[in-house]
């Protein structure tokens, strides 16, 4: 499946360098990336914007954890079906379990293989479509 230009992705990640890398990878695939660098910004974006095709959340975020954000997203009716991909550091095995319990669809461990990340994203979008 080739993603259309309309495919918006919400990216919540606080490290600048990580954002640069992810944004590059995603935009190259034709996605439009909306970025929030902390939990509060993400909350504002979520309350304002229409549901995106996908949300990528870091587990550790300022102000609000990734898990809390999942709960927030799952609590909104229009956003209920947005697939969520979690970014975790390899130390946090429990976070992964918690994330699935809260309704995340998939996760990628940092450091990640860019190809694998993109393949997982495509998969998630295909299964939603």
């Amino acid at each position: 499946m080739t993603p259309s230009f309309q495919s918006q992705i919400l990216l919540v990640e606080d490290s600048d360098d990580a954002v640069v890398i992810l944004r590059f990878l995603l935009e190259r695939e034709g996605f439009c990336v909306l970025h929030a660098s902390d939990g509060k910004q993400a909350q504002e974006l979520i309350s304002k914007m229409p549901p995106p095709a996908l949300a990528i959340l870091d587990v550790m975020l300022p102000f609000m954890s990734g898990l809390q954000l999942i709960r927030l997203i799952r609590g909104k009716r229009e956003w209920n079906s947005v697939p969520i991909l979690m970014l975790t550091s390899d130390e946090a095995e429990r976070d992964v379990l918690d994330a699935f319990a809260h309704g995340a669809k998939d996760y990628v461990k940092k450091p990640y293989n860019p190809k694998e990340l993109l393949a997982r994203i495509r998969n998630l979008l295909a299964s939603e479509a």
């Binding site: 490290s15 300022p62 550091s89």
Partner: protein, 468 residues
């Protein structure tokens, strides 16, 4: 004939006092510099991808509150937003006479919960414990009034984590402050306590309960204190900590090993400077038990506190500080030259005793002596000016070296204007401000000496709470 000889003996003594004091300061400065450079050398790797895990020990944050209805909700809200994996917040309402408790109940939808705890430390009775279904990490303890130390002890009793962190309800922590202050505990299992740097919040902008932009205050009194704080923390603390001889951890932000504090007897209730007293007593307790330990210090700016902006509040604060210092040192004087006491017993304690405890007295004696001599013509006007100039130069020198340390390490104040302003203050504070604070310290010293237990009425208690 005897006159001039006595005089020159005094002159030399005075000179010796000044020079020796400054030499020690200079030495601490050097140690601080080396330690700071060392700790900074780890930073660029820290900036690499986040390395966190579930290995950080859980922390109980203890926030004692007395009549804080105006600020308590915001303070607790930002405490709940710190980035740390396992921590709980325990607010201890120390029998406030205002609506502190009601504000908390409304804000966080609190209900009384059955809570079990082990009363390791004696405290005033606890009336109720409240919990919030929305914030599982938050508990509020409502107890009868017993002072800040008593409130902290109650918090220690209720905490269930191996470490506890005491905070002032009115200071602002950095979001990752806990993460940074816990590092010494991870790096060295012998760590029993760790202090952080306190900076002045006046003049900074806050957004969502955290510092957004750092600036200098407009109020001149607060402005002077920014330089004072740099001096006190950058080398006052940083210099002593590599020697494991730090005697003060500010009550506004410190992390402690719970069991060790309980074994040392918790916070002492009948004292004014309970924060310093605890640290001095920890040293004494652990040294006398011959237990290996470390009391560490994290130099990154971590906690922001509101500095007094008028002379009255400042006067109360300084008198309290001096009284607290006197009580802490006098109450633990066995630490002085304690056998196997190391740097803390043989260097830091004597230094604090001579230059901080008795310092105001010596300063006062020196000034009076020179003044009287000049008045009666024992000393020429020229000599008096020379000594005054030396004192001034040394004062400026200490401040400027603190500014240099700050510039080499954190350079937290972003603009060139901030640097020049602080240099101007380093000079200006020697004309008036320093004498004024020294005078207040003397007043504090005298109050302590005469043992005046200030009437512990409601007003005094409020002042005591506020002047922290």
């Amino acid at each position: 004939m005897i006159g001039p000889i006595v005089l020159s003996a005094f002159e030399y003594l005075f000179l010796l006092y000044v020079v020796a004091g400054n030499l020690v300061y200079l030495a601490i400065n050097l140690v601080a510099y080396l330690a700071l450079v060392r700790s900074r050398s780890h930073r660029s790797i820290d900036a690499l991808p986040k390395r966190l895990s579930g290995l950080e020990p859980p922390i109980s944050i203890l926030a004692p509150a007395y009549n804080e209805e105006a600020t308590i909700a915001t303070a607790v809200r930002s405490l709940l937003q710190l980035s740390y994996t396992g921590y709980e917040v325990i607010v201890v309402n120390d029998g406030s006479s205002d609506r502190t408790l009601n504000v908390l109940i409304e804000e966080f939808e609190l209900t009384p919960i059955p809570d079990v705890y082990h009363p390791s430390l004696p405290t005033k009775p606890i009336k109720a414990v409240y919990g919030s279904p929305r914030y599982p990490a938050l508990r509020i303890v409502d107890k009868e009034n017993g002072g800040k130390a008593d409130a902290l002890n109650a918090g220690i009793n209720l905490s269930r984590c191996p470490l506890f962190c005491c905070v002032d309800a009115d200071s602002i922590l950095d979001r990752d402050g806990l993460l940074r202050i816990v590092q010494p505990f991870l790096d060295d299992p012998r760590t029993v306590a760790c202090g952080g740097t306190i900076r002045i919040a006046n003049g900074c902008d806050f957004r969502g309960g955290f510092v957004a932009t750092i600036g200098l205050p407009k109020n001149w009194l607060a402005l002077i204190q920014t330089v004072e704080y740099l001096r006190a923390f950058l080398f006052g603390r940083m210099g002593w900590s590599p020697l494991n001889a730090m005697l003060i951890i500010s009550g506004a932000f410190g992390l402690f090993h719970r069991e060790t504090v309980i074994q040392a007897g918790g916070y002492r209730v009948q004292t004014i400077g309970e924060d310093m007293e605890l640290v001095v007593r920890l040293h004494r307790h652990l040294l006398s038990k011959r237990l290996p330990y470390r009391i560490a210090y994290v130099p990154d700016p971590i906690c922001w506190t509101e500095a007094p902006e008028n002379l009255d509040a400042l006067r109360l604060q300084r008198i309290r500080w001096q009284r607290g210092l006197c009580e802490s040192l006098a109450g633990n004087r066995q630490l002085l030259f304690q056998h196997h006491g190391g740097a803390v017993a043989w260097l830091a304690f004597p230094f604090m005793a001579i230059w901080e405890w008795l310092g105001p007295l010596f300063d006062f004696a020196g000034y009076t002596f020179i003044f009287i001599c000049a008045l009666f013509g024992f000393v020429s006007f020229h000599v008096a000016v020379a000594f005054a100039a030396l004192g001034l130069a040394l004062g400026v020198f200490l401040s400027v070296s603190a500014l240099l340390l700050e510039e080499l390490t954190f350079h937290a104040y972003p603009k060139m204007r901030h640097v020049t302003l602080q240099f101007a203050i380093a000079i200006a504070e020697n004309f008036g401000y320093r004498q004024l604070t020294n005078w207040w310290r003397l007043v504090g010293f005298v109050q302590w000496f005469r043992g005046t237990q200030a009437s512990w009425g409601s007003r005094a208690r409020l002042e005591a709470w506020k002047a922290q």
